[in-house]
């Protein structure tokens, strides 16, 4: 994935430089990239007319968060939704009895990885074993992915 640029994010900001967040809009964009701040910290973005911008910003920033916390890089193009990673993920297994026996996690089960709309999604990067420095380095999902849709940094 290409590196995010400040200008790219700036496109989605209100460009009013109101400084309610404490920065100019360009400064806000800069801090978004360094993850010191979240898009929701801008009061304008929370308003309905900017909802699309907010979604887009979160989409652009999202995967980077995953990558930063867990070191997982997911290539949705390659994923065929086979769900092997969902079944082999040890945290999924602890959180959902369904996932353990090969069934998809229940709708309300709170898991790390799930197949959403036919593609793999890291829904809770913070619970991933890799996000927790004290536990061992787990590579199961990436190692067992048959289509190489998951790789590690």
């Amino acid at each position: 994935m290409a590196k995010l640029s400040m200008y790219q994010l700036y496109q989605y900001l209100p460009k009013t430089d109101c400084e309610k967040c404490g920065f100019s809009c360009m400064g806000f964009a800069n801090r978004l990239i360094s993850r010191d701040i979240k898009p929701e910290d801008c009061p304008f973005l929370l308003e309905p007319e900017y909802s699309e911008s907010l979604t887009e910003l979160n989409r652009l920033l999202g995967p980077e968060v995953e990558k930063e916390i867990t070191g997982l890089i997911i290539d949705q193009e390659k994923c065929n939704g086979c769900g092997i990673c969902v079944t082999v993920c040890e945290v999924n297994m602890e959180k959902s009895r369904e996932a353990e026996s090969g069934r998809g996690p229940g709708f309300s089960d709170d898991v790390v990885l799930r197949i959403d709309n036919g593609k793999i999604k890291l829904v809770d990067p913070h619970s991933c074993r890799r996000a927790n420095p004290s536990s061992h380095i787990c590579r199961a999902c990436a190692e067992l992915c048959p289509t190489k849709a998951i790789s590690l940094v």
Binding site: N80, G118, P146
Partner: protein
């Protein structure tokens, strides 16, 4: 705008019939969907297989071909279809592997009434599997038991990653089972195929065979099991020897085979040998064998044929002993057929051209939700609801266990079951 959540929906895509699909519907459209694979989502979004961004064209109105294809209503289309079928001496009823069990049953009754031929798609491979049981016995298990016990999984002539994407994660290699608590660490995978593919990465042994030599490989394996001489085999004998050694060592093996065995040369010979190999293996350890169906209700149509006719072969009602037909496929008689009723299939795409050329000459009645190559040739076209998404039904999983297909979307189109039912009623009235 209200969202409706349908939990545990059964996916009508392949023979896996995954029953853990959670669908959120908003304004009669699928908004989001969980646990479904890339193949399944194309089905729910009405898009092309593996390309969920490209919509498939739905047939919108019933069509009749005069000089050109023109829109009409169901009533007129049914009259025309009934006329075509009634006027036929030997109609072919074809397809049906993507229909619910009840629709298949009505189609079989239509064939019986018209003294026609009834052939499900891909019959050659399937009938030879069931027929080979006569010589080599059957060794089957519900997929639960394979998942609970199997320590060796063999995929022969199929690539589950493409044809049945969730098979590996749900039923065979990766899930933990009652006696296989570490999942894939407790199991090994062997793959036999003509070309290197994704399965190579996750298989302990990948045996690449030359096109058309599958049955020879099976024979060689049987010879090795019996301790006979295999010097005349020219291929990769080292891998085969190694595989056979491990096959006899495991406590519970499962073999899944796919359409690859019918695409390469002689399906009947391949299956007969594979079943004989499984029988041989069962003398030493425990093995089960199941076919890997690409279509979601292929298993259902075979169950139906056996229940109704006590015979897994395609049915030929044009002769008096229709139920006892012993041909694996009736398509070799295609030149005798003078009309066809095609349900949920695209023979101009799926059949080899020497067969489909024969279909060009005869009137075709087509029941299908989408535009296909066959719609370009058909005389009458009925658009339908998609079974399992817009219409309820019953489908059989690859291990022969049935599931109820749910309806998650409303549709303006009738189900294939109701169109077939209407045609049957009309034929019944006019030929009491």
């Amino acid at each position: 705008m209200s969202e409706i959540l349908y939990e545990s929906v059964v996916c009508p895509s392949c023979g896996c019939l995954c029953d853990d699909i959670d669908v959120v519907v908003e304004e009669n459209r699928v908004k989001s969907i969980r646990n479904v694979c890339e193949w399944g989502i194309s089905k729910f979004l009405f898009t092309k297989k593996f390309t969920p961004n490209v919509k498939r064209g739905r047939v919108e109105k019933p069509m009749i071909r005069g000089k050109t294809l023109t829109e009409t209503d169901y009533e007129t289309a049914i009259s025309r279809a009934v006329d075509i079928l009634k006027g036929s001496k030997k109609p072919l009823i074809y397809g049906l592997t993507n229909s619910g069990y009840n629709a298949q049953k009505i189609a079989l009754n239509i064939a019986r009434r018209l003294k026609g031929l009834f052939e499900p798609r891909g019959a050659a491979l399937l009938s030879s599997y069931y027929a080979a049981m006569g010589d080599s016995n059957f060794y089957v298990a519900p997929l639960e038991e394979i998942r609970n016990n199997a320590d060796l999984i063999i995929y022969w002539g199929c690539n589950p990653i493409h044809s049945t994407p969730r098979h590996l994660a749900r039923y065979s290699v990766y899930p933990r089972g009652r006696c296989k608590e570490r999942g894939s660490q407790d199991r090994a995978v062997f793959t036999v195929d003509v070309a290197e593919n994704e399965m190579g990465k996750l298989s302990r042994r990948f045996l690449q065979v030359e096109r058309g030599t599958d049955s020879l490989v099976m024979e060689t394996m049987m010879k090795l099991l019996r301790g006979e001489n295999v010097e005349d085999y020219k291929g990769d004998i080292a891998t085969i020897e190694n595989m056979v050694r491990q096959m006899t060592k495991v406590s519970y093996g499962a073999i899944f085979f796919g359409l690859g065995l019918s695409a390469r040369g002689n399906a009947v010979k391949n299956i007969e040998n594979l079943m004989a190999l499984v029988k041989e293996l069962n003398g030493k350890t425990r093995f089960v064998i199941l076919p890997l169906y690409d279509d979601f209700n292929t298993s259902g149509v075979i169950q139906l044929l056996i229940r109704e006719l006590k015979n897994p072969m395609p049915a030929d009602f044009s002769v008096d002993h229709g139920a006892k037909n012993s041909k694996y496929s009736l398509l070799e008689n295609l030149h005798e057929v003078d009309a066809a009723l095609v349900v949920g299939d695209d023979p101009f795409w799926s059949l080899p051209s020497e067969k489909s050329d024969l279909l060009k000459e005869i009137p075709i009645v087509l029941i299908d939700p989408y535009w296909t190559r066959t719609t370009n040739k058909a005389q009458v076209i009925f658009p339908t609801a998609v079974t399992g998404i817009e219409a309820e039904g019953v489908a059989y999983r690859m291990d022969g266990l049935p599931l109820k297909l749910k309806k998650v979307l409303e549709s303006e189109y009738p189900s294939d079951e109701s169109i077939l039912g209407e045609i049957y009623q009309r034929l019944h009235k006019e030929f009491p």
